[in-house]
Symmetry: C2
Subunit: 197 residues, 2 copies
């Protein structure tokens, strides 16, 4: 693709060859790998640099068991088997960090985000952007991500988060195992997605 | 970063050196570039492969003028000056495409997405993920993106979309011009974002 500066190997790693994995090997995912992923994707943009994404790594067997019970039935076996499972959430109180995150405009905390409903909507959108960056970051580490929205949202919030944090998705992380994916489904054509005015 | 498989040049292009641009050169952004971006990022994952992102390229002077008037004051000069401006939106009727997009499970259209409120929430989350992929895709093409949420959402919806499409953001696209960015703002530390249970 001569229109792209990104090297074809990187295109394959992040987009073309990477797939949502449904099985994993038993190789562990280390904190060092997660830290490297975070230290890459933290630079991608959010509105007002609000950076609302929070990540709960489900490391203990006890916590894993509780989470698996809250997944929809089809997601349970892979959530039980993945080397690592992460809950991605939006911090609705992100504005508390804004004076540090946006030192040239600390008033944003009160000017735009004094209202909780405004914060919740902004946190949801921007944490979703950061979730996408995180998924690609996992792929950048040579790992496969298995993002899932099939789970009991209120129960996951109650068990693992609190009123100030909204769950967005659960992500299985690891190296793909045997028969890790279905055949690639079709994508919409450019003309179906992009119009001009 | 030895924990990452992604080549450092690609890390810089997408994350470390890439920045949200506030000024642009006059070099045009072609449909061929946009098509290459889309044909890369379309492969990144969405729930049920629902692919709800829709993109309106604001190409004509007349449409540009209407959009600039709906941007918040601080965003008007750069939205007027960017070589290309795109409105990113979620298609709340994405389920109509599901039988084609998810051929192994066409029942998803009615099983999960018969309810408009369920569709709207899913479309918003998944179009936000695709917006993040799109921003990184613009960077993959060697261009700078300037995503903005400072605009009159109901008015942009009315002028450029319809009841079935929810605007998410407006993105300026082009090659960065002089003094294109502010100094990089701080990011949260790993320990502030990631916890384990």
């Amino acid at each position: 693709m001569s229109e792209l500066n990104l090297h074809p190997t990187a295109q394959d790693l992040l987009f073309r060859e990477a797939r949502t994995a449904n099985t994993f090997t038993s190789e562990p995912v280390t904190d060092e790998q997660l830290q490297a992923v975070y230290d890459l994707v933290k630079y991608a943009p959010t509105a007002y640099n609000q950076s609302p994404l929070r990540v709960v790594l489900v490391r203990s067997d006890e916590a894993r068991g509780r989470l698996v019970d809250l997944m929809s039935e089809g997601n349970r076996p892979k959530t039980a088997a993945a080397p690592l499972v992460a809950i991605l959430a939006a911090d609705n109180e992100f504005h508390e960090e804004l004076p540090a995150l946006l030192p040239h405009f600390p008033q944003a905390k009160d000017l735009f985000f004094a209202d909780r409903a405004v914060r919740e909507e902004s946190a949801f959108l921007n944490a979703a952007l950061q979730s996408a960056y995180f998924i690609l970051g996992i792929r950048a580490a040579g790992l496969a991500a298995g993002p899932m929205t099939g789970f009991d949202f209120p129960a996951v919030r109650k068990e693992f988060l609190d009123d100030d944090h909204t769950p967005l998705m659960v992500v299985n992380i690891g190296r793909p195992g045997p028969d890790a994916w279905f055949p690639r489904s079709p994508r919409l054509a450019y003309e179906e997605v992009v119009t001009a005015v």
